[in-house]
């Protein structure tokens, strides 16, 4: 398994235990903030300290009150619209860019990297200005903005995957007089499905977690998604740590579930940005 073998079997065993111990300590420190979250959510008297909880489910009851609950539903709507829009727009474009003989790969990579590196605050000012003047400061336009922010990377992910599909399959279909739509539907999509799903998951995670875009572009409090609700609670004079922890867990649950069910996709690096390799 290891490409860095130690000098002897006994030494390897001993050093393995040493590394295990060290990593467990590291794991404890890295996990401490998250451990607090879980404990506080079930704690009737939650504060910022890491302590044994006086168990209760009350925090979750408060977290699912109508107002905060609507926040979660808004998040669902926002992220779903953004993801569907981004993936549906990016896939055909990825197909064209993958099959056209123009050598775009290097430029595409640099462009994608650049667009994802520009701080969101640079883009948000002009978008706000225009949306305010056009009276578009509501949930659906914000979802479109979120979609656009995801298109470059989703396109790059799917393009890389489509390039790996042998052209012969498509050529065979075309020889059988298939039109492009048929080629896409019967040949490309089934074969590229893992990458399409990975791109969609990537888009969903980003849209679900995005804070600044909904904060600035959605003015109606009833349409604001989860992050804004949490932000509002964080800013109160007397922070209800139990409720906010419970709500955060509910809000972060989809992300964790994605990871648990698709962990292979994350480890292989596709969703995290493994496309950015030399």
């Amino acid at each position: 398994m290891s490409a860095v073998p130690a000098a002897g079997a006994l030494q390897a065993g001993r050093s393995r235990v040493a590394f295990d111990a060290a990593l467990v300590a590291v794991l404890a420190v890295l996990a401490a903030p998250l451990l607090w979250l879980v404990l506080a959510a079930f704690d009737a008297s939650a504060g910022v300290q890491l302590k044994a909880p006086s168990p209760t489910l009350d925090n979750f009851v408060r977290a699912l009150a109508p107002g905060p609950l609507r926040g979660l539903l808004n998040s669902l709507l926002l992220a779903t619209v953004a993801t569907v829009l981004a993936t549906v727009a990016a896939f055909p474009a990825a197909y064209v860019l993958a099959r056209r003989p123009v050598p775009l790969k290097e430029l595409a990579l640099v462009l994608v990297l650049f667009l994802s590196g520009v701080p969101i605050t640079v883009l948000i000012l002009p978008i706000y200005d225009v949306f305010a003047k056009l009276q578009l400061l509501s949930l659906l336009p914000a979802a479109v903005v979120l979609a656009v922010l995801n298109i470059p990377f989703e396109l790059y992910m799917m393009k890389t995957a489509i390039e790996a599909i042998p052209r012969d399959l498509e050529d065979a279909a075309r020889v059988e007089r298939a039109r492009t739509a048929t080629v896409l539907a019967r040949v490309v999509i089934p074969l590229a499905l893992p990458s399409i799903l990975a791109a969609a998951i990537y888009g969903f995670i980003n849209a679900w977690g995005n804070f600044l875009v909904p904060l600035i572009l959605i003015t109606d409090t009833a349409s604001q998604p989860g992050p804004i609700v949490i932000y509002g609670f964080m800013g109160s004079v007397q922070v209800d740590y139990g409720a906010i922890a419970a709500y955060s867990i509910l809000y972060s649950l989809p992300i964790v579930l994605f990871f648990l069910f698709c962990s292979s996709m994350f480890r292989a690096g596709y969703i995290l940005g493994g496309g950015i390799r030399g």
């Binding site: 490409a3 474009a93 056209r100 994802s116 520009v118 000012l125 492009t180 995290l272 390799r277």
Partner: protein, 322 residues
């Protein structure tokens, strides 16, 4: 429509244009790819969206960086082109040099150096530890990096407040987030960036050729020699890529900093993206804020070109070594 219905010679013209004889004008030869019109149609949704909502705002932002437009106030409607007026304001603004230093400390300290070194150390340690623990560490870092920024900010704020876990570890009575805000945002940033770096290092380590290590072992090289003389040099391209990727991601990680400290207390964590946001939305100086944004775009461009160069260099080195 049969070929007999066409005028003579049309068949040859049709083949030359990529259409097969005897078919309606829509079909193309298999080796010609799809019709440019089809390609344009497939590209259009993405292109329209990106041009309208990504390129246009960036272009608009660049342009208003040279005006004195305000969000509200006298210059919100009647604004004018002021050329490099915002440049002079930036040079006179005492917050800017301070912000640049903070940005450098934050980006280089917790991104370029911090996250990269930590991830490398962890990835190396994971290869020497048992599988289950290595998996647990990797999983935790990945979850930490995909967690919504609000959640990250919440748990880090709680942990570094008075009596919070990390404040407590630092010493009883410490209030990390108030007295050591730069440390807090740097740690939080590194914590949330580890996942990507670990995945990349993990993949690179798995791809190291085993035979050279066998040769080294035969030659009697110690583990440390193997690491210093073989592993590190071979990993250098990956380290460069990861370092520069961490730099870019840290530079763009505005949300986390904003949520944790809002740039404070008293501007102590006012990295440039946060400051530019304040200039635009709190002081309403949209033009000046946009100009700061232009400066940031240039910085990111420089970084990205560096990454591209590093990766190209890495590829050339690898092809030489092969």
């Amino acid at each position: 429509m049969s070929a007999a219905g066409h005028p003579p010679g049309a068949g040859i013209v049709a083949v030359a244009e990529g259409r097969l004889p005897g078919q309606a004008g829509r079909r193309r030869r298999a080796d010609r790819g799809e019709h440019p019109l089809t390609a344009a149609l497939l590209l259009s949704p993405a292109v329209v969206l990106v041009v309208l909502l990504l390129l246009a705002p960036v272009a608009y932002a660049v342009l208003i960086g040279f005006t004195n437009i305000q969000l509200v106030g006298p210059n919100a409607v009647n604004y004018r082109f002021t050329g490099l007026g915002n440049l002079w304001q930036m040079l006179r603004d005492r917050e800017v040099p301070k912000s640049l230093v903070l940005t450098a400390i934050f980006v280089i300290g917790s991104g370029t150096v911090g996250a990269t070194v930590a991830a490398l150390a962890l990835a190396l340690a994971c290869r020497r530890a048992s599988d289950r623990i290595a998996n647990a560490v990797t999983s935790l870092t990945i979850v930490a990096s995909i967690l919504p920024p609000v959640t990250t900010a919440l748990v880090w704020r709680a942990s570094t407040s008075l009596d919070g876990t990390l404040s407590f570890l630092a010493g009883d009575g410490t209030e990390l987030i108030v007295h050591w805000p730069m440390t807090v945002i740097s740690l939080a940033n590194a914590w949330s960036s580890l996942g990507v770096a670990m995945v990349m290092f993990g993949a690179a380590l798995r791809n190291l050729p085993a035979d050279i290590y066998e040769a080294a072992a035969i030659e009697g090289a110690s583990a440390r020699q193997a690491f210093l003389r073989l592993t590190l040099p071979l990993l250098l391209p990956t380290i460069a890529s990861v370092a520069l990727l961490m730099t870019i991601l840290s530079f763009g990680n505005v949300t986390l900093v904003w949520l944790l400290t809002g740039g404070g207390p008293a501007g102590a964590t006012n990295i440039l993206p946060v400051y530019a946001y304040q200039v635009g939305f709190r002081f309403y100086q949209l033009g000046y804020g946009a100009f700061l944004g232009n400066a940031m775009i240039l910085m990111v461009l420089a970084l990205v070109l560096l990454i591209a160069a590093a990766m190209a260099l890495g590829r050339r080195r690898r092809s030489v070594a092969a």
